[in-house]
């Protein structure tokens, strides 16, 4: 039994079958990559996991509980964090404030009216946020306006915001999309470090095969809304069906 179990999920948009009978099992503390050509349904699948979309049929179980019918913030509280294709951060806030939001959310839950206390008096939480920033090597940027940073830094910040929540499952939607080679390599290094240091399961959607093959323990290939094959990276590389549907297309 994996930490994430997707069973017979179907999703239709009008006449388009976006997902057809998707079955997926992600084992705990592994990195599971989902690859596939454009329009294969990768993002739709991800959106079904976090409550943004509700599948027409099928079930999505996380750590033994169904996520269907729950709001994104409730699913996050169950232990699923998400990194978006374009970094979603609080652009108007400083880097440290960006880190304080998840820290406060972890302590206070979905809503708490703390209108008279001062954020500056939250010494413990501030220290926790700074320590996390130090871990992703962004401590020197803590007073920067988040929107003014480079894309690579925004990505690191977003990951730090997810990690400080100590999620059981981290979903990454093309974490290196639109990045320069150097930034991509930094991100791979960061993800490897996370994988080694923490008890965390990662589910990653990625186009860049370099990223996928350097990180993934298992790979699922999705084509036209249906899983084509699921296997280890070594076997996927030589799989004829995959070559035909995806890698062949690129070549």
């Amino acid at each position: 039994m994996g930490i994430l179990e997707v069973k017979d999920v179907n999703k239709r948009f009008g006449g388009l079958q976006a997902l057809g009978d998707v079955n997926l099992s992600v084992a705990e503390n592994t990195v599971h990559a989902i690859i596939g050509p454009n329009g294969a349904g990768k993002s739709t699948l991800l959106n079904c996991l976090v409550g943004k979309l509700i599948p027409d049929t099928g079930s999505v179980m996380f750590a033994g509980q169904s996520v269907l019918g729950r709001k994104p913030y409730e699913i996050n509280q169950m232990g699923i964090s998400r990194v978006f294709q374009t970094p979603e951060i609080f652009g108007d806030l400083s880097v440290l404030e960006n880190m304080m939001i998840p820290v406060l959310a972890k302590r206070d839950g979905a809503f708490k009216l703390r209108a008279i206390e001062n954020v500056q008096d939250e010494g413990e939480l501030l220290a926790e946020a700074e320590q996390m920033l130090d871990e992703v090597k962004m401590l020197d940027k803590r007073h920067m306006h988040a929107a003014s940073m480079s894309r690579g830094d925004k990505r690191r910040l977003e990951m730090a915001m997810c990690l400080i929540q100590r999620p059981k499952l981290l979903l990454l939607d093309e974490p290196t999309a639109g990045m320069a080679r150097a930034d991509t390599n930094n991100t791979i290094a960061l993800l490897k470090e996370i994988k080694e240091k923490r008890d965390i399961t990662m589910c990653i959607i990625e186009h860049d095969m370099h990223v996928v093959f350097s990180l993934a323990d298992r790979i699922t290939v999705l084509a036209q809304g249906t899983p084509l094959v699921e296997d280890t990276p070594e076997r996927i590389k030589g799989h004829p069906k995959v070559k035909e549907a995806y890698l062949g297309e690129a070549a």
Binding site: E88, F90, D92, I101, A110, R114, A115, I116, Q120, M161
Partner: protein, 400 residues
């Protein structure tokens, strides 16, 4: 001090100084001088400065922090006013119960309006709030006449005998604070100058300082940070385990309570209410005040409120006779020419001046008057630096 420090404390002390010294600061010209009409230090106007200041401070908690632009906040002001006047008519002429009721009723009403309107964001939210406010205005004007007095509104009349106030037969009640009447003033004369220290004004000013202090605390609190997060990225908020709806609703209700407080104070200072207080132009005015002063800043809304009320009351009083007096020293043709040019901008045309100022601020100073102040301050600082020598200038630049 008081749990606020640094810049916030200086801003608070500055506002406190301005509020307490307003009767002097706003009356810089001797009574008999030609400039006396620019004096704004009379009780009625000073009260309006601070009351609208409270209104704008509250509005800024919603608009400045969360970015939700309510176009119906005058409804809460009106509801507060009606609640306060009924308290005064029926229960007590002391202003405290009236003001408390005003806040409570505005809060209840804003919970209802907020709960429904906050299901949408952006322009749809604005339109929903506008619809609610216009509905309230129309109802107060017509079918709710038994409660609101309709077109004529409500005022304290002879024959109103509040339960807790001992009025003589036929005496018209006057608003008071434990016996201190709001209309009482002490007039200080010094040379040609005259300064009016009004009880009502100082009551309003103290309430405003408390409201301002609370707003500072909210701005610096975890709650305030969450509200800024709402404005910045609701998607990320939802994926961080936070429910943004109750945060926006809380901000909406708090700003509704500020509006109710302002409405209650208006009644306490001038014991009458009419439905026009809820008209959409009144809702628009507080938006202008906040943007003109600087949305999302602490002192901006107070400045904006003062600025607009000053224009409304002072610039509108300049008529063609006054203009002719000003330019009397010029040859006749010249005088008439200048009067013709200036006339559309003053008197009844004060809206034109305000509109142009507003456009100029929005285009050149998107951060409002506060940004203007900051720019001037930075020019001043730069000037001082270059005077002190190039070396220090070089050292300080990276810090900025």
């Amino acid at each position: 001090m008081l749990g606020i420090k640094g810049k916030d404390l200086s801003v608070f002390l500055l506002v406190a100084m301005l509020a307490l010294l307003a009767p002097f600061l706003l009356n810089p010209f001797p009574v008999d001088s030609a400039m006396a009409q620019f004096n704004a230090g009379y009780p009625d106007l000073m009260q309006r400065f601070v009351i609208f200041g409270i209104f704008a401070i509250g509005f800024n908690i919603l608009f400045g922090l969360t970015g939700y632009l309510s176009f119906g906040h005058a409804a809460f002001l009106g509801v507060g006013s009606y609640a306060a006047i009924w308290m005064m008519k029926l229960v007590s002429l002391n202003i405290i119960p009236g003001i408390i009721m005003a806040i409570i009723f505005a809060a209840l009403f804003s919970v209802v309006v907020g709960y429904i309107s906050l299901r949408r964001s952006g322009i749809y939210f604005s339109i929903l709030t506008l619809a609610f406010a216009q509905m309230s205005y129309a109802l107060a004007y017509s079918v709710l006449t038994p409660i609101t007095g309709g077109e004529t509104g409500l005022q304290i009349k002879p024959g109103d005998d509040p339960l807790l106030s001992n009025l003589a037969e036929g005496e018209i009640g006057r608003a008071n604070l434990f016996g201190l009447e709001m209309g009482d003033s002490a007039i200080l004369r010094a040379g040609g100058w005259e300064f009016t220290m009004n009880v009502g004004y100082y009551v309003c000013a103290l309430v405003m300082l408390v409201a301002f202090y609370l707003a500072i605390r909210i701005f610096r609190s975890p709650f305030g940070m969450m509200l800024r997060a709402v404005k910045s990225n609701q998607q990320r908020m939802n994926y961080t385990g936070l429910n943004s709806r109750p945060y926006t609703l809380a901000a909406f209700v708090i700003s509704g309570m500020y509006a109710g407080l302002a409405g209650g104070l208006m009644v306490a200072m001038d014991t009458q209410v009419g439905p026009e207080r809820m008209f959409w132009t009144a809702s628009g005015e507080v938006v202008l005040m906040t943007i003109l002063g600087g949305a999302g800043t602490l002192i901006g809304p107070v400045l904006g409120a003062g600025f607009i009320k000053y224009m409304e009351n002072i610039v509108s009083k300049i008529n063609s006779t006054v203009l002719h007096e000003w330019f009397a020293f010029l040859p006749d043709g010249m005088e008439d020419f200048l009067v013709t040019i200036f006339y559309p901008f003053v008197g009844k045309g004060w809206h034109l001046t305000l509109g142009l100022m507003f456009m100029a601020v929005v285009i050149f100073l998107p951060g409002g008057l506060v940004e203007g102040g900051q720019r001037i301050a930075s020019i001043f600082r730069r000037g001082k630096k270059s005077g002190a020598g190039d070396e220090s200038a070089k050292q300080e630049t990276p810090a900025e």
